[in-house]
């Protein structure tokens, strides 16, 4: 069952002024329930605008957005309900923290949903746990935490709303390697545990190929492709042509192919590369 469906969505910035610009151009796409979809694209390719359509922060200039089969801009839909269903975590989400304690900040979303005290408490603790925020941190001020911790608190703030769809805009941007790893692996664990549909926007191909089952490539406001990871990277030449990067290891394999050593065109993780190289060597073709 498709949980997200976009039909011919077009969005124009500052429509009707000299600054008019098309950010999203006639995008149609469906995302299945439980899918972990990576979204990549150049700066200004419209990915951030696209994801803001999914929880109704941005109203499309033309076209329709369906969440759970429901047109979110039809009159009888409360847009806030849509936002609880499709949780959106912005880039540099730690800038949204404002409460005195981490606990209170995480409970802001659930409180807005009008849940009971006990329900809020269980949700806050569960969200904190899945983001690796220890009990003692809950009573600290969010402004005293490290960058990586703040980011995880902000994520927990959305997760505590228990959305059906979790949309993350560059959740690991600007963090050090340890912080990156900790945020990304927790998102992946969360996905495995609860089967939530996840859309992950990232600049880093390495991150996307490690976690995503499907990849959505945006180019100049249009969908370049939306297919399983293997198929996307089989088109690596085209991807490089539209100015995107492929994982480092894919580049190495491409160079090898140019030198006459063909290991296959579906290699984008170091593990698979290792396997193939060993296979190749076992056949004794390297002197």
């Amino acid at each position: 069952m498709s949980v997200i469906e976009l039909k011919n969505v077009t969005y124009k910035y500052s429509a009707g002024t000299p600054f008019e610009a098309v950010a999203v151009n006639n995008v149609s796409l469906t995302v299945e329930k439980g899918e972990f979809c990576g979204i990549i694209g150049h700066t200004g390719s419209g990915k951030s605008t696209l994801i803001q359509h999914l929880n109704g922060l941005v109203k499309p200039t033309f076209g329709e957005v369906y969440i759970d089969g429901e047109n979110i801009w039809s009159k009888d839909v409360d847009i806030r309900e849509v936002r609880f269903k499709a949780g959106l975590v912005f880039q540099y989400s730690e800038h949204q923290l404002f409460e005195e304690t981490v606990y209170k900040d995480i409970s802001y979303g659930p409180k807005n949903m009008g849940l009971s005290e006990e329900e809020i408490d269980t949700r806050v603790r569960a969200a904190a746990e899945s983001m690796g925020i220890s009990e003692e941190l809950l009573e600290r001020s969010p402004f005293d935490l490290s960058g990586g911790q703040k980011r995880r608190v902000a994520l927990a703030g959305i997760i505590a709303m228990e959305p059906e769809i979790l949309i993350l805009d560059e959740p690991a941007a600007g963090l050090d390697p340890i912080g990156r790893e900790s945020v990304l692996s927790r998102i992946s664990e969360y996905h495995k545990k609860y089967g939530t549909t996840i859309l992950l926007v990232s600049h880093s191909m390495e991150d996307i190929v490690r976690f995503a089952e499907k990849v959505l490539v945006m180019n100049k406001g249009e969908v370049f492709c939306h297919s399983p990871t293997d198929e996307v990277f089989a088109r690596q030449d085209e991807i490089i042509k539209i100015g995107l990067d492929v994982p480092q290891i894919t580049r190495v394999i491409m160079k090898l192919r140019q030198k006459g050593i063909d290991l296959g065109s579906d290699i984008y993780t170091v593990e698979r590369a290792k396997e193939r190289i060993l296979e190749y060597m076992a056949k004794g073709r390297i002197c």
Partner: protein, 279 residues
Amino acid sequence: MLKDITIGQFFPGNSLIHRLDSRFKIIMDIAYVVMLFTASNYLGLIAVGLFMILLYIMSGVGLRLVLKSLRPIMPLIAITCILNLFFIRGSGEPLLNIGGVIMIYPEGITTSIFMAVRIMFLIIGMSLLTYTTSPIELTDAIERLLSPLKKLHFPVHELAMMMTIALRFIPTLIEETDKIMSAQKARGANLDTGGLIKKAKALIPVMIPLFVSAFKRANELALAMECRCYRGGEGRTRMKQLHSGLKDYIALAVMAVFFAELILLNIYIPYLGIPYMVP
């Protein structure tokens, strides 16, 4: 939304108005305001209006922007109109008399129209300065115009620097407010409905992150300035010097002639149906 605010916004261009020396533009802008308030009859007002329209045509700033800049002051205009309409007492019979409390005289109607047009012309005319002059040029000009006050130990340079920084950060902060508002809306914040107190409370999750980041920015900026050895105005040179040329003096002369004409107009056609006014 917030991005649509046009008052005080600069629209780059290369018209004659854009190229005039910003010091002269400020002086002429002040002269324009004085002129507008000297015009005491409709004829003078129309003359000032035509002058302004001519300047706008020369500058190439679109009509749409002009109308946009008027939107925020509409309530002010409405209040002025209503006050003048009800409180001006004319000499003849009132047009409308409800129990001797609400009385509308023909003079009230003419005055309120006059006032509304004057305020509109004021805003539109003053906007031309900021539409056609970059904030940096503007503060540079203010610094130069105020520089005689340095003799009185008035911190002119510091004031100009503060203005430059404030102007520079307005768009940044607007963008940031937009972002934080979106982020809190994504968490179910309800910023648009409810009473005044509820609305104010709903803004706390927006204001606190905004203040935090504004202080952080200020701190970083101060540090960056210090790293580049900023020491205040003493002995500081500029990358872009202000140059006044023939065109600036001609513009000033045109303005002076027009001003003189307006004063003559006032003397020869005094009070066109306007006995006295509530400014």
